[in-house]
């Protein structure tokens, strides 16, 4: 199987992670700017999701965890080392797992779907796939990446 070049993968990872930062930041700002939270009548799924008891962990909006994760992944896209390859994979795996859990909560516990949360889950899934490809394709190539002696 032929892998896309690592440079391409890194560019894609950086691009998707930047989109993720945007989405998660929007959710966090929309949540914090609401003033006194209320339960809204006839609101869309996002309000139900944001108002549910699952939207915060220890008082911190889950979107903030998302921002931190996306920034970490963006950071690994700028480095070409096994540490960055594994770090990006590990963080995106954690983010992907967390997204699976949050989507489960939306579907089965909150019973409402928020399109912003779904966007973030999709971006995180893409990041996980990209980082997994990067790890499988390029793990252990640190030595080979050095300029060859002639």
């Amino acid at each position: 199987m032929r892998f896309p070049s690592e440079a391409t993968l890194r560019k894609l990872i950086a691009f998707v992670a930047a989109l993720g930062i945007g989405v998660a930041t929007y959710i966090a700002i929309a949540d914090s700017g609401g003033g006194a939270p209320t339960c809204l009548a006839g609101g869309s799924g996002c309000e139900t999701v944001a108002n549910s008891s699952y939207s915060h962990i220890a008082g911190v909006n889950v979107a903030v965890f998302g921002i931190v994760g996306y920034i970490a992944i963006l950071g690994t896209a700028f480095l070409a080392s096994d540490l960055a390859r594994f770090g990006g994979f590990a963080v995106s795996l954690g983010g992907f797992g967390f997204s699976v859990y949050l989507t489960y909560l939306e579907l089965f516990k909150i019973e409402a779907i928020c399109q912003w949360c779904v966007s973030s889950a999709v971006l995180m899934t893409v990041l996980f796939l990209l980082n997994a490809t990067r790890l499988i394709g390029y793990a252990g190539t640190d030595g080979a990446a050095l300029p060859e002696k002639t």
């Binding site: 209320t38 339960c39 809204l40 797992g97 790890l135 499988i136 793990a139 252990g140 190539t141």
Partner: protein
Amino acid sequence: MSNKREREKRREQRLQEETKVASADRRTRLLQFGAGAVFLAIVAVTVLIVASSGGSGGDAGDIKEAGEVDSLLAGIPQENMELGRPTSPVKVFEYGDLQCPFCKAYSEEVLPQVIEGPVKQGKARIVFRNFTIIGPDSVPAGEATLAAAEQGRGWNYLELFYRNQGTENSGYANDEFFTAVARASGVKNIAKWNEARKSSEVADEVAKTTEEAKKLGFNGTPSFAIEGPGTKGMEALETPGSAGDLESAIEEAS
């Protein structure tokens, strides 16, 4: 001379091979770590999902905090859904939905300070009114509360319901849960309460207060209004951000 070059060449080849072997080793290790991490992630997500599938609240077989509610409300007069001395000059109206998680948070974190303060001091009464917006189960929940109020336990019912609230519209708010809350909140005559909560008077009252809240321009719960000597009739407060805000509104209205 050529011997030396030969040796150097071989040395370089050996080094390159060693690097290759080391890279391959590291690659194997990293991929093993990766597989381990995937396994751990699957376990973690499964545990989280299993842990959260158990109900948090909304359990008719396990009504909690009845003691706390009793001691919070002990000694405060209740008349229908009014909490506080009838001589208190200011009336605070709370338009709430029993299924609303923010009403629950409000009743646990904001209202106790107001109840301990202005309500117990005889400055204000709090009047709970149903504003059923979350879903169909909010209506019978509101009716059950008004029926409990007919036996002087309306506020106990309301507070205890909030403290045991389940996930909105998950179906926990059923007759079994309503009855468990009624028993735990000290409703003495369950047969009479059952009759009252199915009566048209109670149903009309829930519908009427919901309409009233809409007319006041409210679109979320909990929403508050206030009436006192310092106000022009009933004035909308929306949702005061803290107990302090609510207390200063009471001061201004008196």
